[in-house]
């Protein structure tokens, strides 16, 4: 009764053939003849499937080979030459990340020749790397630094560059580029062109004047960068970083006149433990609240509250759009409805598919809704002058820094959210005050927004927004409990990490119309027997596939609601999350979120009593009413396809 379809997430669409994972015709079973090869690595005999690269074979057998340009998420490059190994009967050293094993060869990973070659290469990289470690934000978390330590580099063998060659590009609100620290590993290029299919960065020039640049070497704010920050997560050095507002935040905290309020999102809470040495997958919600108060924030709020509010607004908007399309046959072009809480995705659509702007939900993202509420509702209730309130949002996202600076985000009369802070930067602030996060006692959030449902919490993982919306919409329309349709209210068909997921939900029975919708319709009969078609896509490469399918009139053009996330993995893989990142880490973070959510007492947005309170006392016109539209909804603008 439920149809599911899942498509592969191949981020290697644009890579040249020799850099894609090698595809060799394998017989059905690797143990059959021709399926595996026996190779000798460091005098140890190992059997591997045909076509495995030497690096993969070594990883599986706990043999260490250092790498620099290799990344699990990205296609093969083979440009740094750090991972070279010696193969018997071959004069030159081969890059182990790129060499597929197709014959029984003898490999040695640590001969004197290899060691000397690696040392020379690291010396070369350091000789051109301008910038001191102690004033770099990647100090202690830098791959070049670790490699230099591993190979015992303690002086400049080939001299050292004395003057910077490039100017720092900090024109963008989100991503700052310092090309003097770049080691030309091309990870950012492969991320932007192959993984995200946006295409802002590429290698420019030839020979020693090669550098990574944009179209005509313009600054980032002038090109179509969507601020997703995936390049920052994958850069091995400090060449790419997020725009850091810590100094201004410290100033606000130290200013006694300012009332500094902070909202935290679920994804940073699931990942911030990694910055303190914990393994991925420990959610630190309670500990983080304690830490934030000790640092000096006046109030700590839970973004999940406005996530619930977003569900109410967006869910109502969806129902109204369906009503207009199915019953009144107007505004048919507004279906399918796209989620709008991912600012990277929103900017992507504004650049590449501006003709579909009407499909975007006009509801703001939870962060922005909160900013507006704080400077209106909260300021009123607590009798504080909104001009003295400073709102800060802790997000896993680098694009949120751009979002809070969008000129239309001033519905409260002031800048709704003053600063966007990433997980990494918050961890840095906590460390500066000498606090060790994992050992703190837990505490709760502040009123009046304290309670949030589990539906708001799962926003962090891909499929979370969809699941939260479905829990509410299904219950309000069918009148039945979600637990009757999906075990434990976990709508598993929309979960997972496949690039694009498609689910059909038939609505067989309908219930009564809830009180807040009675002014719009008297019954749900117009939905009886309909099938709700929804889809989930994460990463802009998959978003592109879905949009092209919609343009061509394919299966997704008949969907009603599609969740798009700009970053692979959803927000837990966002551009502000701890470095490094890979598929395993993202899966663990998502697991932490789902586990934390299952233990909560309230798991659906419409059951949250504080949401009811807001609608009764402040947003008295109800969801999508006049006041909601003023404060909680926004507009989008068409942007150029090539230049910003």
């Amino acid at each position: 009764m439920k149809m599911e379809m899942q498509m592969e997430n191949k981020g290697n669409g644009r890579a040249p053939v020799s850099q894609k994972p090698h595809k060799i015709e394998l017989p059905l079973h690797p143990e059959y003849i021709g399926g595996s090869v026996k190779v000798q690595i460091n005098e140890k005999e190992i059997i591997v499937p045909l076509g495995t690269t030497i690096l993969e074979a070594c990883k599986k057998n706990n043999i260490h080979i250092p790498t620099l340009c290799h990344h699990d998420d990205l296609c093969i490059a083979g440009v740094c030459r750090v991972c070279v190994v010696e193969i018997e009967n071959m004069r030159t050293l081969q890059a182990s990340c790129a060499f597929p094993i197709t014959a029984p060869i003898k490999i040695k990973t640590a001969t004197p020749m290899v060691r000397k070659a690696r040392k020379n290469i690291i010396d070369l990289l350091i000789s051109e790397h301008y910038g001191e470690c102690y004033s770099c934000f990647r100090n202690n978390n830098c791959e070049l630094q670790s490699l230099a330590k591993e190979y015992g580099v303690d002086h400049y063998n080939f001299g050292h560059v004395q003057k910077p060659r490039f100017k720092i590009d900090n024109s963008s609100y989100s991503v700052v580029r310092d090309m003097d620290k770049c080691i030309l590993c091309k990870r950012c290029v492969r991320t932007c062109i192959d993984l995200q299919e946006v295409g802002v960065l590429e290698a420019i020039g030839r020979g020693d004047s090669t550098h990574i640049g944009t179209f005509f070497d313009k600054q980032l704010s002038d090109v179509i960068c969507i601020n997703c920050g995936q390049c920052i997560n994958r850069c091995p050095t400090g060449a790419l970083r997020a725009n850091d507002p810590r100094d201004e935040i410290w100033r606000a905290i130290d200013d006694p006149k300012k009332h500094v309020v902070i909202q935290t999102a679920p994804s940073p809470r699931a990942a911030i433990g990694e910055e303190f040495g914990l393994e991925a997958g420990h959610s630190m919600t309670g500990e983080l609240n304690t830490a934030l108060r000790r640092i000096g924030f006046d109030k700590v709020f839970d973004t999940n509250f406005t996530a619930d509010l977003t569900i109410m607004e967006e869910g109502t908007e969806l129902i109204l759009r369906l009503y207009n399309a199915l019953v009144k046959s107007e505004n048919l072009n507004k279906i399918p409805q796209f989620t709008s809480c991912s600012p990277g995705w929103v900017k992507y659509l504004e650049h590449f598919y501006p003709q579909y702007i009407d499909n975007l939900s006009s509801a703001k993202s939870p962060q922005q809704m909160f900013g507006t509420l704080i400077k209106t509702f909260y300021a009123q209730e607590e009798n504080i002058n909104p001009a003295d309130i400073v709102t800060i949002a802790v997000m896993p996202c680098s694009a949120k820094k751009f979002e809070c600076n969008r000129p239309e985000m001033v519905d409260s009369g002031f800048k709704d959210v003053d600063f966007g802070l990433t997980t990494r930067e918050l961890a840095q602030m906590i460390k500066e005050t000498g606090i060790f996060l994992p050992e703190l006692p837990k505490s709760g959030f502040d009123e009046p927004f304290g309670e949030a449902s589990g539906a708001g919490l799962i926003f962090g993982a891909t499929g979370g927004v969809m699941e939260a919306a479905l829990r509410t919409v299904v219950e309000l329309v069918t009148g039945k409990k979600v637990e009757n349709l999906f075990e434990n209210a976990n709508i598993t068909p929309v979960r997972g990490f496949e690039g694009i997921r498609y689910v059909e939900l038939p609505i067989e029975e309908v219930g009564d119309v809830p009180e807040m919708y009675k002014k719009y319709f008297s019954n749900w009969n117009w939905l009886k027997g309909a099938t709700l078609k929804v889809a989930v896509a994460h990463g802009t490469a998959n978003a592109k596939k879905v949009m092209e399918n919609i343009k061509a009139g394919g299966i997704f053009s008949e969907c009603h609601f599609i969740e798009f996330m700009g970053c692979p993995g959803g927000c837990i893989g966002g551009g502000g999350q701890p470095i490094p990142t890979n598929a395993e880490i993202r899966a663990k973070r998502a697991e932490a979120i789902y586990k934390e959510e299952e233990g909560l007492p309230i798991r659906k947005s419409h059951e949250n009593p504080h949401i009811a309170y807001i609608y009764e006392n402040f947003l008295t016109d109800g969801p999508c009413g006049h006041k909601s539209h003023e404060l909680l909804h926004t507009k989008y603008i068409k942007r150029g396809e090539y230049i910003a």
Partner: protein, 158 residues
């Protein structure tokens, strides 16, 4: 760029796409033709080509910046390229360079104010037995003396 220049350039690119096809492997041929006609490939042209080939403009810009004969910045109508590799160097290319610089009043890398000439160095032209050699646009001139080099400049324009 003026509007009519843009529309004629767009039309030219459309014709080139028809001639060479709209897959990525026709990129170099298209860029070479535009370079031959206009002596440089403007940012508008790069965006148009990117649109037709379904790639991003930065990828077109990256390819242009890699090859020495393709430029993104405007150059003179006649690009004079003097070989600086060893065989021509041994046959006294510096005197040729100085003669050309003197005659045109500019240094290597610059363009004359009337946009007629740009002088550049280039690497081995494959005329090592007939050095020193220089190329003006696609034509090559060999066994140069300072006198004949300057005569060739006028020959091309005249």
């Amino acid at each position: 760029m003026l509007v009519f220049e843009k529309t004629s350039l767009a039309k030219e690119i459309e014709q080139l796409i028809e001639k060479y096809g709209n897959s990525r492997s026709s990129l170099l041929s298209i860029l070479q033709e535009i370079q031959a006609n206009h002596r440089y490939i403007s940012d508008y042209a790069q965006q148009e080509i990117a649109r037709h080939l379904c790639i991003q403009p930065v990828e077109v810009y990256s390819v242009i910046s890699f090859y020495a004969f393709l430029n993104s910045e405007p150059k003179g109508r006649n690009i004079v390229r003097i070989c600086k590799t060893i065989s021509c160097d041994m046959k006294n290319k510096m005197s040729i360079v100085k003669a050309v610089e003197r005659e045109l009043g500019i240094k290597i890398g610059e363009t004359t104010s009337d946009n007629k000439f740009t002088i550049e160095y280039t690497n081995c032209l494959g005329l090592c037995d007939e050095g020193p050699a220089m190329a003006i646009n696609e034509r090559v001139f060999t066994r140069l003396t300072p006198q004949t080099a300057v005569e060739n400049l006028h020959k091309v324009v005249g």
